[in-house]
Subunit: 196 residues, 2 copies
């Protein structure tokens, strides 16, 4: 009967959620079982339910905490009085840093949200759609100001976001370049590809 160990300012639920992120990334949400999770937490499966309502709650928690972080940052950057292309670069860098430092959560939020249930599912999809539209709008304004090539903005957004999710491969690769180098390379290629 060993209790779940917690560090300062982290509840037992936080521990579970964070272990779930690792597992969901490794195996996928459906393939990761509550018994797997229990083992990785160091407890019996049933005990998890003293801290969480359901398996899907873990997914909500992960998806929306990530989504909220990105939304908040976008609010912040959108209102800065800087050229559109610089806004895009800032957002890009934020995404990269998040993907590097909070790999598990961000990855799960990106790949496993399909398994959310309504109403969370529709909610999440809406947020995602709106987020992308806001990015597209920034790009459009950059095109108007001749900072950015006259390309289809939604396509540019799609490229940016998916390219970032490629950091997954970086995480798995044996001989990683440094995170800083990764960031610079990605910015060079992507911002370079957009700029006139």
């Amino acid at each position: 009967m060993a209790r779940i160990k917690t560090e300062k300012n982290t509840s037992r639920k936080d521990v579970i959620v964070s272990k779930a992120a690792v597992l969901f990334r490794e195996k996928g949400f459906k393939a990761a079982s509550m018994r797997d999770l229990a083992e990785s937490v160091g407890v019996e499966a049933a005990s998890l339910y003293n801290h969480i309502k359901s398996k899907t709650e873990l997914l909500h928690e992960l998806c929306f905490s990530v989504a909220n972080r990105f939304l908040q940052k976008l609010d912040e950057i959108e209102s800065e009085p800087i050229p559109a292309i610089q806004k895009i670069e800032k957002i890009l860098r934020f995404h990269i840093v998040e993907m590097v430092n909070n790999y598990e959560e961000v990855y799960v939020s990106d790949r496993e949200w399909k398994h959310l249930n309504d109403p969370y599912l529709s909610n999440f999809q809406n947020q995602r759609r709106i987020y992308r539209k806001r990015l597209a709008a920034i790009i459009e304004s950059g095109i108007k100001n001749k900072e950015i090539k006259p390309i289809d903005a939604p396509t540019a957004v799609l490229i940016l976001l998916h390219a970032i999710s490629g950091i997954e491969s970086w995480h798995r690769s044996k001989q990683k370049i440094t995170a800083a180098a990764l960031e610079e390379n990605m910015v060079t290629i992507l911002v370079g590809g957009l700029t006139i």
Copy 2:
């Protein structure tokens, strides 16, 4: 007792594999059940086993048929006597066209290969690793020849491949631009991002 309808030159197994691709994309491999698949084929679940050995066999079939198409094309392009950057552009265009026209299969091969079993799993991972190394080598040679910016080649590969998988979003979007326009936009941004 209605038999599975086949068109010319397609076996009943082909029909099943192709319906499986749709289902695996929609729900993910684990979440898609054989009973789901049976329904979409118009048959009882057990009847599927007159044509296939197992659920995973469907995944093998999909993953390796896609992988082989890409490998074959890479062989072809690699041996052409053209500048590296043009090779990259050709490969990029091939990926885009494949992702547009064979969406379901390519998507499943890209996202669901984790659920393969050994020895297929290791096999697939190896092929993937080697494929990427060959792409990186082309980029390296382009860098040497001053056709391509001096960036980290593996990072460039990662960006290219993942950006392509973003075509998933294009497929789902309501107001699609044409496939041709999509292709041109992607090439503009990505090849533009690599070129000096």
